[in-house]
Symmetry: C2
Subunit: 166 residues, 2 copies
């Protein structure tokens, strides 16, 4: 379970480090309809505005959010590139499901398979459940140790702000 | 470990159902250099000639074997389509490593992440190790129960024949 500090909100980010499989499950509710949340995950101009921790910016280098497409972006701090990531869009099922691969170029043999499902909670609210599974527990634990959780929690807070903008 | 009948050969297919992660590891040696084996995995006209069990044919519908590319093919028995599969090429690292996603359209929520590594054994021989990891043990066990192993063993025997042709 998450221990990171989070803003006061009814929408908290739950990070569960799985015991049975080498993965992490991240659950988060948003005060926006499914279509709106899905667009924030698949439109590159929206995605770059919220992904990652607050002290980093994202520069999209390639983005083709369709089944069989791929993506690549860099993370920058004060304009200086500090990390690059890339992967594929295995499946883009609008407003329901997004399946991607993910590699940080600093560990080029590590690959995560990420399945995001979106659930309509009614009243214009949406639950997202993200399941990331790696090839070994060592890789999973290294991902946790990298400070991933802070980036996820802060990113979702930025996403709240973006969704509020309308 | 594999129990399927296999042709008399020094190159046997070892199928290990993993205990720790929801995956399968398949190891196989081939009497051909790394470059030749890699081409048989990435060239669609070669790949379709050996993939799958002996009683099926493969019709490639889409094939873009590059990092960020994707693929799609159908399996046919006596000309009749019986299954379709699709996925992405997350990474194509020539003669070393191939990372793909894999979905059988009959179970569209199931996704396997497949990492193939090629090792030069010297004397014109190559070892391939394929690690397939799914999102749950249930999905992994369903994949085993589907008769996957027969297809793998027979496919590699067809690949032996293709490699012998030169």
């Amino acid at each position: 379970m998450t221990t990171s500090p989070q803003q006061d909100s009814r929408n908290r980010t739950e990070v569960v480090v799985l015991e049975e499989v080498p993965g992490v499950r991240i659950t988060r509710d948003f005060d926006a309809p499914v279509e709106r949340v899905f667009r924030a995950w698949t439109d590159p101009d929206q995605f770059r505005r919220w992904i990652g921790p607050r002290d980093l910016d994202t520069a999209i280098e390639h983005w083709e959010a369709r089944t069989g497409g791929s993506w690549r972006y860099a993370a920058r701090r004060h304009g200086e590139e500090i990390a690059r990531f890339y992967g594929s869009f295995h499946e883009v099922r609008p407003n329901e499901r997004l399946v991607q691969t993910f590699t940080w170029e600093g560990a080029p043999d590590g690959v995560s398979l990420e399945v995001l499902t979106l659930e309509d909670l009614g009243n214009g609210r949406t639950r997202t459940v993200g399941l990331s599974v790696l090839q070994s527990f060592e890789e999973r634990d290294a991902m946790i140790a990298s400070g991933m959780e802070t980036g996820v929690v802060e990113g979702f807070e930025k996403l709240d702000e973006l969704l509020t903008e309308g």
